[in-house]
């Protein structure tokens, strides 16, 4: 069948088989290799994307289920080649090492801050459940999310 969807503002109209996941579609057909293939079973969060504005694991959605949707990946975040403020905080605080989990951490944490689910460190840690990092651990990631949340607070 033919799948129509928008990825980071770009419209795709591609034939797709029903058993292909959104993750494979994005990486193989839409060139969105910033969406990482980690566990493939909804546990690690590396493949997080925003599907119509809502964070989901792209490995756990069939591409055909995203018919007509607007998908945003981490590559769609920055403007004119600059990093998003949360990405900047992650870099500055040493919260990125191999970087494989980072796209999921960024998109998941942006949602947590937007929903007001990043009020304190324990809450931020809970919001990171399902984002597995095997390099830096979570301390510096939590620092970065906290700093970003505070920056947002000052901005608004």
């Amino acid at each position: 069948m033919t799948l129509e969807l928008v990825v980071n503002g770009r419209r795709f109209r591609e034939p797709v088989e029903p058993h292909v996941t959104l993750l494979h579609f994005l990486r193989d057909k839409a060139g969105a290799t910033d969406v990482k293939y980690g566990c493939g079973e909804g546990v690690c969060g590396a493949c997080t994307v925003l599907l119509d504005g809502v964070a989901v694991n792209a490995c756990s959605v069939l591409a055909v289920q995203a018919e007509g949707a607007r998908v945003e990946t981490v590559a769609g975040l920055g403007e004119n080649g600059s990093l998003h403020p949360l990405q900047q905080e992650l870099v500055e605080r040493g919260a990125v090492q191999c970087g494989f989990c980072t796209p999921g951490v960024v998109l998941g944490s942006l949602e947590a801050v937007r929903l007001g689910l990043a009020g304190d460190r324990p809450t931020i840690r809970r919001s990171l459940a399902g984002n597995l990092c095997r390099c830096t651990g979570y301390g510096k990631i939590v620092d970065a999310v906290e700093a970003y949340r505070d920056r947002q607070g000052h901005a608004s």
Partner: protein, 271 residues
Amino acid sequence: MIPRPFDYERPGSVEEAVAVLAAAGGRDAKLIAGGQSLVPMLSLGLARPDVLVDLSRVELDGIEALGGRVRVGATTCHRTLELDPEVRSLLPLAAEAARHVGNPRVRNRGTFGGSLAHADPAAELPVVALAHGGEIVAHGPGGARRIPLGEFFLGYLETALAPDEVLVAAELERLPEGSGVGFHEEAQRADDFALACAAAVVKPDGRARVVVGGVGDRPLRFDGAPGELAAAVESAVEPEEDAFVSAAFRRRLAGVCARRALAQAREDAAA
């Protein structure tokens, strides 16, 4: 892994979905809503349906108070249960338990009806549904059928739904005014599958109910005096050992979860 190929249907209504299921004949047709259990199972080769019937174009979400019951539409997502202020007042136990389902991304897509129909014995929401009691509303070729929640969960991943029926809603009994609720779960990692979990309700007449999950082939319900229930749970359950914990540890954990959920429910009732 990439799932094995299957045929795919995206009906626009419950009637169409039922017709697709009925037309499947001997082929294995499976309904998909949020897909948060099913898509990983497809990728792992644990589910190999011939036909997948996608409910994403069928509007079944929403929560509605109906006198003594609350109707939860099948495709209401866990995140709504967790975060919606109306749910917190109508179904505080569901709100409390939904926080423990999967992780935030799973909760954004996973659905209440999907969790009930999947009937994973370690899942939180079947435990909540059984704690409330009420009925499952299913549509099949003969129209609507109501299945009491006490008769719905039959075993591991097994329910009273017929292969050509679609679960459209659960109508949960409202708890009496002044009831307290609690939910406790023990898992190996935050938001991992429950090793054991328990929902507790303490009613104003002093009676209590506990439902435990993860310690049998389906959620198990216990009614009695609040002070006696945790011990009753611990002596009644017969969990099996698995790759993670022994049967004895799991039995103990069931008692611990029941005790802590009951303590929370008593505190909630007093508040």
